[in-house]
């Protein structure tokens, strides 16, 4: 026998289920509470710095059917690459930008929408800059543990080509699943596929 390592174990995840919106976006689900506003519906609390963009997309299951009961969260740096986090030590993030949003997906189409800003570049562990990206986290009925992916931008080819994570992905043919496509001025499209030939890359950070 040896000494014991005194660590606790992370609580096991369980599915968010079909009614995640009751808990996380109650007003969207028809429960009038918390003064009528759901957390994360707006990522801006005033005029923001940088390029304002709209990101839309749909989460598809393995049959290509849109998920209409998912909840999608986004977490990203501001236009200067700073996080609005208590433990951000590199500077002060844009005070009018929370960096975090939640979208329920449209009840009919499943389309999620984030009104946000194009994120700046954030350093990787070794100091090299990562390409502009946002973290997306997807929960829904049938998803046992929240799925984490990253949204990069197709029109950031130069930064993407030197991104420490994108360049280390073995199957480079899958990298486009992480790229938001520019569809207009300030408009990006980022569809997510849980399964199938276009399956999105999901991470275990």
């Amino acid at each position: 026998m040896v000494q014991k390592l005194e660590y606790l174990k992370e609580s096991p995840s369980q599915t968010a289920g079909p009614y995640v919106h009751i808990g996380c976006m109650p007003n969207f689900s028809g429960i009038e509470i918390y003064g009528g506003s759901d957390l994360g519906r707006s990522m801006k609390t005033g005029p923001v710095k940088g390029e304002e963009i709209t990101v839309t997309g749909i989460v598809h299951d393995g049959m290509g059917t849109p998920l209409r009961d998912a909840m999608i969260e986004i977490w990203q740096a501001d236009a200067a690459g700073l996080y609005a986090s208590a433990n951000e030590t590199r500077g002060k993030a844009d005070p009018n930008f929370t960096g975090w949003g939640r979208s329920p997906g449209d009840p009919e189409t499943g389309e999620f929408v984030f009104e946000t800003v194009k994120p700046g570049r954030v350093p990787f562990r070794d100091g090299r800059l990562m390409a502009p990206h946002a973290t997306l986290w997807i929960v829904a009925r049938g998803i046992n543990i929240g799925l984490q992916t990253r949204m990069y931008f197709e029109d950031e080819a130069e930064a993407n080509a030197e991104d420490p994570i994108l360049t280390r992905i073995e199957h480079q043919s899958r990298v486009p699943t992480l790229l938001a496509r520019k569809t207009g001025e300030g408009a990006y499209r980022f569809d997510i596929h849980l399964q199938g030939p276009d399956e999105t890359i999901f991470f275990d950070f």
């Binding site: 005194e6 660590y7 606790l8 174990k9 992370e10 609580s11 096991p12 995840s13 369980q14 599915t15 968010a16 289920g17 079909p18 009614y19 919106h21 009751i22 808990g23 996380c24 109650p26 689900s29 028809g30 429960i31 509470i33 957390l39 299951d61 393995g62 049959m63 009961d69 969260e73 977490w75 996080y83 609005a84 986090s85 208590a86 433990n87 954030v122 350093p123 562990r125 070794d126 990562m130 990206h133 973290t135 986290w137 929960v139 009925r141 049938g142 998803i143 046992n144 543990i145 990253r150 994570i165 280390r168 992905i169 899958r174 849980l194 399964q195 999901f202 991470f203 275990d204 950070f205």
Partner: protein
């Protein structure tokens, strides 16, 4: 942060302790589970930072589901309970200032949701959601009514054990977690395919809250204890010393 800096990132998630994505006993997971392996990377600032939720966000009744949707002077129907515990990380430290959101069915097993068709009635005084911010040592407490079990379409005769859903933030987005709390002694626990995605009895026990008669308020509400553990950060020598652990 450099290799020698204070920030050593989050301890890798122990996937043996977490359910797999593909769990055919829970049928909806079949077409909603990624089939390629997850790509593993150490955490970066993007996962080590997290949104801030101030105490100012929380209203007085947000952690009281018995009253937060009830008409003035009325209250939700059902067995009154207190749910309390601590939010910890894997190193055993409390996680203060973290947002917890929770939701549940009413005492009859019915959710307040347009897509919910169970014949059990709605309780006009019960909304089914609450939230709070953890205290200095990661502790939390809320009041609610004990939810009822409910049937769901998976197998021909499937019933969920009584449960409360929890959504949890930590100090890094890497810690983000959604889970469910079950109640000690519920005979439906071992029958449930969603509980069944858990890989060990230990994992089930970790999500099952015991009755705590010491915390129970006589003539008022029974208490159930539910601690939640989030991923921990790799510690440094100096951090350990400072905390006196």
């Amino acid at each position: 942060m450099t290799e020698n800096g204070q920030n050593r990132g989050y301890i890798a998630r122990d996937r043996d302790r977490q359910p797999d994505a593909y769990t055919p006993g829970y049928k909806t997971s079949v077409k909603r589970s990624p089939q390629a392996a997850l790509l593993s990377f150490p955490t970066t600032l993007s996962e080590e930072t997290s949104p801030v939720f101030g105490h100012g966000l929380i209203g007085k009744l947000d952690n009281d589901l018995i009253h937060n949707y009830a008409k003035p002077g009325e209250s939700a129907i059902g067995p009154r309970i207190i749910v309390y515990g601590r939010l910890l990380d894997e190193t055993g430290r409390g996680v203060p200032g973290a947002l917890l959101e929770f939701w549940q069915a009413n005492a009859g097993g019915r959710y307040r949701h347009k897509k919910e068709g169970y014949i059990a009635p709605l309780d006009p005084n019960f909304g089914g959601c609450g939230r709070l911010i953890t205290g200095e040592d990661g502790s939390y407490e809320f009041r609610t009514i004990q939810p009822g079990p409910y049937p769901w379409p998976n197998g021909p005769n499937e019933w969920r054990p009584a449960h409360i859903h929890f959504s949890v933030f930590g100090h890094g987005f890497a810690q983000r977690l959604i889970t469910q709390m079950y109640f000690e002694g519920d005979p439906l626990i071992p029958l449930c395919p969603i509980v069944g995605v858990l890989k060990s009895q230990q994992a089930i026990d970790d999500l099952t809250a015991p009755l705590d008669m010491n915390r129970t308020l006589p003539m008022d509400a029974r208490a159930y204890k539910f601690d939640i553990v989030l991923r921990g950060r790799r510690q440094t020598y100096f951090e350990n010393r400072r905390e006196g652990l």
